[in-house]
Each structure stands twice: as structure tokens, then as C-alpha cells.
């Protein structure tokens, strides 16, 4: 059972790698923003499988933190793009220079 779970964890990580290749290459910024979401679900799945396989319950806490922080990273990416768009509307970007 432990070996089976580790194999599935490896499979999920391989899918994550494939997904990252596609998403990080994506031409638009929106494609790249999906990488945090992808990492969130795949990473959490891999961690939970690992936690059950090697019988170490503390890993579930890492999965919990990852859930919140992947969401936070996604929000950061989205607002960073919104921020730069609204700045592009301003003629010069020098208003914050001392």
C-alpha cells in the first residue's frame, strides 16, 4: 500500500511537471498565473499521499499551509497584473520617485 501511494504521488508530480511546462510557457500572463493553482492542488495531493505512505501525520499541516499560500500567491499574481494595467494608464510612471 505504501509503495502504491508513493507511485501515485510520483504520477501526480509527473503530471505537475507536464502542466508546468505548458502553463509557464503560455504566452499570456494569465496562463502563468495558473501555475500557483496547479501547484496548489497537485502539491497538496502529493503531500497527502506521502503523509499516508510514510505514516507521518505532520505533513498534512504542510498541505494545509500550502492550500492557503497557493491561494495567496494566485491573488498576488492577479493583483500584480491589475496594478500594472492601472499604472499603464498613467502617462508617466515616475510619480513615486523621491
Amino acid at each position: 500500500m505504501a509503495n502504491f501511494l508513493i507511485v501515485i504521488a510520483g504520477f501526480v508530480l509527473a503530471l505537475l511537471a507536464l502542466g508546468l511546462i505548458c502553463v509557464l510557457r503560455g504566452p499570456a500572463a494569465a496562463d502563468r498565473m495558473m501555475s500557483a493553482q496547479l501547484l496548489g492542488t497537485s502539491g497538496i495531493a502529493a503531500l497527502l499521499l506521502l503523509s499516508a505512505a510514510i505514516r507521518y501525520p505532520a505533513i498534512v499541516d504542510v498541505a494545509l499551509a500550502l492550500a492557503l499560500l497557493a491561494a495567496f500567491a494566485s491573488i498576488g499574481f492577479v493583483t500584480s497584473s491589475n496594478r500594472s494595467d492601472s499604472k499603464a494608464d498613467i502617462a508617466d510612471g515616475n510619480e513615486h520617485r523621491a
Partner: protein
Amino acid sequence: MTVSLGLDIGLAILVLSVAVWTIAVREAFASVVGFVVYGLLLALVWVRLWAIDIALTEAAIGSGVTGALLLGAASRTRHAKAEPEALTLIVRLAVAVFCALITAGLAAIVFLLPEPAPTLAPDAAANLSTVGVGNPITAVLLAYRAFDTFLEKVVLLFALIGVWSLAADRNWGGAPALWQSPDRNGPLTFLGQILPPVGVVVAIYMLWTGADHPGGAFQASAMLAAMWMLTMIAGLTHVPRISSTGLRFTLVVGAAAFLLAGLAGFYFAGAFLAYPPGYSKALIIAIEVVMTISVAGTLVLLVAGPPERGERP
């Protein structure tokens, strides 16, 4: 166990590929995305190395807080003119050779360690019962090497003062310009209302369970910082002015409590930062709670940057 070895090799190749991509890509936003992905993957690596506390910290600080910091930097420099390349090929080759030498040196040190490697871990683990906590990392951070942790908190404050000193004179005392969402009814506001309470509960849980299981003050404070930043980005709270007394008190109280505990140690247990026997766990948790609040505030303000709006009269 060849199955786990295969998993580890695959993970290592993935992490290295993402790192190479992060450096090779030309656009600032893309490389910050790559950095955050790299940080989250590194958390998986730490788990495979049985370092759960470090995995938590890597996810929280390496991706969360530092990611936010880099995103802010990428946005601010988006309209800056790029400097013409001043480095010649020779200089770049020399730097590359030096970096390769340092990497080779580190790898050599790791591979040439005697078996068993010299370590204080057994001694640290053996004395856990006197400290009263079950997590050896917490014991190291807050009992054996408490002085180092105390100084680190002070260094964080100095870093914050350094960031604040970048403000223009007329802006001193004002609020940092953290981007806030103009839309008060969108999905971002919804997330900003639901996620932070969850995050605060998770942070308190990580702080509390850090005494005996993986977790601790630093991870909790990074989680709190991320959640506070989220409420500010969603426009639900104002970015505090740096001249506000409440803010400054919050920032300083962690190091101050540490110092107080240290000085009290002279009186109650005979040395600076010594804990009287039987009270060590209570003291450690008390210091951790206060420290978490201070460090969370410091991290948020480090990301928010120097004040950019002047103090209103």
C-alpha cells in the same frame, strides 16, 4: 526503496528545471512566478528531507511573503528604463566560474562528511525533557539558542527601519502605498473576507502545535502576515501610517518581551535568557505569541515598502 528514490530524483529534476527557467526567462513577472513555483516545490523537497518545520517556513516565507515582495518590485520597476548592459563577457564568465566553484565546494563538503556526520542533534534531543517542549526545533530556537533568535528579531526591525529610510522627507510618517483593489464587491473582496479568518486560525494552530510537533512562531507569523496583506489588498483594511503609535508598539513588543524575559532570567534563574525550571514551556509559548505578532507586522511592512503618502496634518 527504489520507488521513493524515483520520486526524489523526479522531484529534484523538476526543481532544477524550474530554477533554470526562472533565471532564463526574460520578463520580470514571469521570473517572479517561476520563483514562487520554485519555492513551493522546494517545500516538497524539504518534506522529503524530513524537515517539516523548514517546509512550512519555505512555503510561508519563501513563496508567500518574498513572492509578494518581488511582485511589488516587479510592478514598480516595470516603467523604469533598463540600464544598457555594462557587463562584458569576461566578467560574466568569471562570475559563472566563481559560482560553479562555490557550488562544487558545497557539494564536496556534503559528500565528504564523515559517517556519522558530526552533529549536536542527539544532545539537543536528549535534553528536551528539561526544556519541556517536544519539538527539538522549538527547543533550539527558544531555549538553547534563544539569544540568536532574539537578535534576529532586532535585525528584522533594523531592516524595516532601513526600508523606511528610503522614503522622501516629505513622506515620512505617512502610509506605504500598497496596491488596494478599487472594486469593493468583487471576488477579491469575498476572498479577503473568508480566507483571513481561516488563515488566522491556521496560524494560531501552527503556533500552538509548534511546541511539540512541527510548526512554530516564524511560520505562524508568516501566515499572519500573508493574511493581513490579503485584507489590505482586498481593500478591507487601511494600510497603517508608520507614525501610528499602535503600529510601532506592535512592531517592538516582540523584541521587548524577549529582552524582558532575558533580564528577568538574571533574577529568577541566574543568567540572561535562562528559564526557571518548570516554567520554561509557559515562558517559551508566551514569548512566541508576542514574537509572532511583531514579526507578522514587520513582514507586512517590509513588503509594503517605504511610506509614499505624506502624513495628513
